[in-house]
């Protein structure tokens, strides 16, 4: 149990996919101008990464290592297509807001990396926990970035006005340039925190 917890929790901070591993950065910048889109993208990736980890760890013994990459890609693409269709059917507005970035979940480095590094070597339960942890870490990072950009960039949270009327929102946070700069500082901040934790452990 304790071991499963440590597999799950490392994805959230110590090996956070966005801030520490710096994989799949494209969505972290592209769809984080509001909390709602970041949350949707985060949950989609959480689902895809967990489902893919489970299916890869089930089939890992039947797949010839030479053809493992195409197998991973087909598996990921199938799961992504399913989530695309579900979102399109039930949340058409969010589907439109995410645009091509939803289809591009297929090529997120983090999903392929977890399949290759973890799911192809571990059993189903452990792979499930790993996918859940990595996905949760990704979703949390997305919501943090989306939250900062929405609250300070447009003065709202989930579309509700929360800043006083006199608050003059700096447009730059909503623009691409602001996203780059913000993530740069966040990466620096997380680096300091992770170093502190590791120092305290040692």
């Amino acid at each position: 149990m304790r071991e499963l917890w440590s597999i799950f929790s490392k994805g959230i901070l110590l090996e956070n996919p966005i801030f520490v591993l710096a994989l799949s950065l494209c969505p972290a910048l592209a769809v984080t101008s509001s909390v709602m889109t970041s949350l949707t993208m985060g949950l989609t990736v959480l689902f895809v990464i967990t489902a893919n980890n489970v299916s890869i760890s089930i089939v890992k013994n039947f797949v010839n290592p030479k053809v493992r990459l195409p197998v991973y890609i087909v598996s990921i693409a199938t799961i992504v297509t399913v989530s695309q269709l579900v979102l399109q059917a039930y949340f058409p507005l969010l589907y439109k807001a995410l645009g091509i970035y939803l289809a591009l979940v297929v090529v997120f480095a983090i999903i392929l990396a977890r399949a290759e590094v973890f799911a192809s070597k571990n059993n189903v339960v452990r792979s499930f926990c790993d996918g859940l942890g990595m996905g949760a870490g990704f979703a949390i990072a997305m919501v943090i970035i989306g939250g900062i950009r929405e609250i300070f960039g447009s003065g709202t949270f989930l579309g509700i006005n929360i800043m006083p009327a006199s608050y003059d929102a700096p447009l730059i946070l909503i623009l691409p340039a602001g996203a780059f700069i913000l993530i740069g500082y966040l990466i620096g901040g997380v680096k300091i925190i992770v170093q502190r934790i590791e120092k305290a452990k040692a």
């Binding site: 494209c26 693409a77 992504v80 090529v107």
Partner: protein, 192 residues
């Protein structure tokens, strides 16, 4: 004229890296020196053009005919990955000098959002065949311009005194932000 506008818009106004945020892994991973990033830009442009050409044909003659458009994502990913592998083999066999220069970048491109993004945008915007090609070349050149600019900035950065926690990726992101800010000046120049 229409094509020229599309080309310039793809290179500067809708720059792939700085306004659409595609291909960031390569953008930050390979932009450590100017020569490597130049090679990467060329390889990306070539692969992008070839794969959008094939993707356009497959989409319009196979997927649309058979009413299978919901399979677009799967088909495009497999198409691009296998094209890149094939391209690598052909170049290795017939043009070894080119392979020695740019071969290593090809594998990095095989499964990447920058190359998958162009065919998807082409489909989404209903571009004709020739427009798709122009858009692909423009996007590739835009990617190349961005990555070479970034690499030359990062080469200068080596001499600078950067705070320890921002060293590496952190400062690279902030630098990219400044670059994006300057590209913002072009927005509104062309509207399509």
């Amino acid at each position: 004229m229409e094509y020229l506008t599309l080309f310039i818009s793809a290179v500067i106004v809708n720059n792939f890296v700085l306004t659409r945020f595609l291909g960031l892994c390569i953008f930050f991973g390979v932009s450590k020196n100017v020569n490597a990033s130049f090679g990467m830009g060329m390889a990306v442009t070539a692969v992008m053009t070839i794969s959008s050409l094939l993707a356009w044909l497959v989409y319009n003659f196979v997927l649309l005919r058979l009413n299978l458009t919901f399979l677009t994502t799967i088909v495009f990913v497999l198409l691009i990955a296998s094209t890149v592998q094939l391209l690598e083999m052909v170049i290795k066999k017939h043009v070894p000098t080119l392979y020695n220069m740019w071969g290593i970048y090809l594998m990095l491109i095989a499964v990447n959002c920058v190359v998958l993004g162009v065919p998807l945008i082409n489909v989404e915007s209903n571009y004709t065949f020739s427009k798709s090609i122009v858009h692909a070349i423009g996007s590739g050149v835009g990617f190349g311009v961005a990555i070479v600019l970034m690499a030359s900035l990062r080469e200068k950065l080596r001499l600078a005194d950067v705070p320890k926690s921002l060293d590496g990726l952190g400062i690279a992101f902030i630098l990219a932000g400044m670059l994006a800010l300057s590209f913002l000046g072009f927005s509104g120049m062309i509207s399509i």
